[in-house]
């Protein structure tokens, strides 16, 4: 059983959804980001999405863009991703990486997969890679025992949902709305409908992301999905704050979200 399968089995046994938290490595700096990911794991995230900052993040909204730009300016490197996955694993959560594809391609897909597996990473979310372009990643992930997490969106047709879910393992990243990452007043009304459509195609856990920012929204999503993905709201707790103050705010929001995925918000 893979690490992701285990965590979803455990959550299911506890009658709740999994909490998946995203943070970019290198923000506010590399050490600070490792501390933040550790705090996120300790405060209740089941899975930590380790984001690698990229110069051209077309799927990200202003909050994550800002953190990524600052992290790059301070000199974050792809090697730091693997330090982060190791730190997350040590803190007791399951690490997955979120990376734009050129960063993986440039390192060499097989080498990247080997490094990720060696550092305790469970798999990778690829926001700008569709299954048709993922032949090399498919082979490398099989070779190194990693899960492949692709995305479905409200625009996905039944045919696309079938293509994507067949290529996925671990879980399916279900985008709640059309758009980029960022907090929203409400989770898209299209999310429950999309989850229902994807369930017809697969038994894999379905995790919903884009726009979730508080415990109440987490509880709402947890009522129909297997996992709740939170990104920009967590990153926001670290922006414009001193390190200790930021970590305290991060722990507080994580605890609220963890209550949410247990239906207690």
């Amino acid at each position: 059983m893979s690490a992701l399968e285990e965590v979803f089995a455990r959550c299911k046994a506890e009658g709740r959804a999994a909490l998946i938290g995203y943070l970019p490595v290198g923000y506010p700096d590399v050490e600070g980001s490792l501390a933040a990911m550790t705090a996120l794991a300790e405060a209740g995230a089941d899975i930590v999405e380790v984001g690698m900052p990229y110069s051209d993040p077309v799927m990200d909204g202003p909050v994550i863009q800002r953190a990524a730009t600052e992290a790059l300016a301070k000199g974050v490197h792809v090697d730091d991703v693997f330090r982060a996955t190791a730190a997350v694993k040590d803190a007791g959560a399951v690490p997955v990486v979120m990376s734009y594809w050129n960063l993986v391609l440039r390192r060499g897909v097989d080498r990247y997969a080997a490094d990720l597996a060696a550092s305790g990473g469970a798999g990778m979310i690829t926001p700008d890679l569709v299954p048709e372009e993922a032949g090399e990643w498919h082979e490398a992930s099989e070779r190194h025992g990693l899960d492949r997490i692709f995305l479905v969106a409200p625009s996905s047709t039944t045919e696309r949902i079938s293509v994507v879910t067949h290529a996925c393992s671990g879980f399916v990243y279900t985008a709640s709305t059309m758009g980029v990452t960022g907090t929203r007043g409400s989770v898209g009304s299209r999310a429950p409908e999309l989850v229902a459509r994807v369930r017809e195609a697969t038994d894999l856990p379905l995790c919903v992301g884009l726009g979730v920012s508080n415990g109440a929204q987490a509880a709402e999503v947890a009522s129909f999905a297997d996992g709740v993905i939170v990104g920009s709201a967590l990153v926001s707790t670290l922006l414009d704050r001193g390190r200790d103050e930021g970590l305290a705010a991060l722990r507080e929001l994580t605890a609220e979200l963890a209550e949410g995925v247990r239906g207690r918000a």
């Binding site: 110069s55 077309v58 799927m59 792809v78 050129n102 059309m178």
Partner: protein, 420 residues
Amino acid sequence: MSEDDMSTEQSRSQQAEPAPAEVHVPGRFGAFGGRYVPEALIPALEELDEARQKALVDPEFIDELATLHRTYTGRPSIITEVPRFAEHAGGARIILKREDLNHTGSHKINNVLAQTLLTKRMGKCRVIAETGAGQHGVATATAAALMGLECTIYMGKVDTERQALNVARMKILGATVVAVEHGSATLKDAINEAMRDWVTNVDHTHYVLGTVTGPHPFPEMVRDFHKIIGEEAREQVLELTGRLPDAVIACVGGGSNAMGIFHRFVTDAGVRLIGVEAGGDGIDTGRHAARFATAEPGVLHGAMSYLMQDAEGQTLETHSISAGLDYPSVGPEHSYLRDSGRAEYRYATDEQVMHAFQLLCRTEGIIPALESAHALAATLDVGKELGPDALLLVNLSGRGDKDMHTAAEWFGLVDKDTDA
């Protein structure tokens, strides 16, 4: 029979065979191209692919576009022989294809009119576009006004400052212009922001991508909407000179004007295809956009192609005196033509470009766009290399009105104290 006559004979007997650059896997030019995009955009790309394939064989669409080109764009664009300029190029015979005389001042309108017609056929009411120098933005704003579409143009903040007049033109045409401040605040960041808009609003919005880059079907589609340049030019040159040119020369940023003029000549084996990239301050300085001189393949904005990137795959910043060539990647078909040896690529530095720019102004009374002046700079060298018997066809892709500010500064024609 001279070699020239033979090549003419060959060319005339050649029917429209499949070009060697034709894609074998849908959306791939050899190893290049593809679709590296968020899943959310795949349905829109498939819808677009279907719509353009239907349109390309639909007599109604073909007629509508041809009529627009005749009555609105001003096609066919003429060719002009430039003997006084050619004296500085080893005496070679030089012919310019005058895309600068099109409505809105560049080749960009060819693609934009076709894509906005497609937008209407797909039942969408809004278009968005990126722009660097502003030419594609102005062309898109123009077509949107003509067709009654809502229009938003994304432009890097740095570019809005250096091309303030084009910002005003777009606004006067009714477009909303968004100055993009993220990243390097230039063309690539404008494309990022346009893609974010598209992911969000794709149900009613079409992204009028302005060059032969991006995910499939854009590189193929934009090329097809510009190939009229080479089709016209080939006939015009044959009519004027009785033979095919020895070389066809065009500047390459994303590479749409170059693909437009190259495409019809790809099967003419005797015709050299020469693309000219931005050499900026010189290759050694690192401040340039000469992808083929220094870069390796990578993925940016949906396509696999040569890409200026660091050791970890982060996109590098580029530099060129011409905003339109200031882009870190290049259309995937160019990468294919280059690696297969069918086309060759050179670069011209800012200094060489400004020399060629001034030379064409002074010898022929034609003010070229700085982008097109890259092709002219290389033409001076190619002419000297091939000698006085050579016949060169150059794509003058745009006019230089938009560049007066840059040129005046370069040549010291403005008082810096009064010119903020």
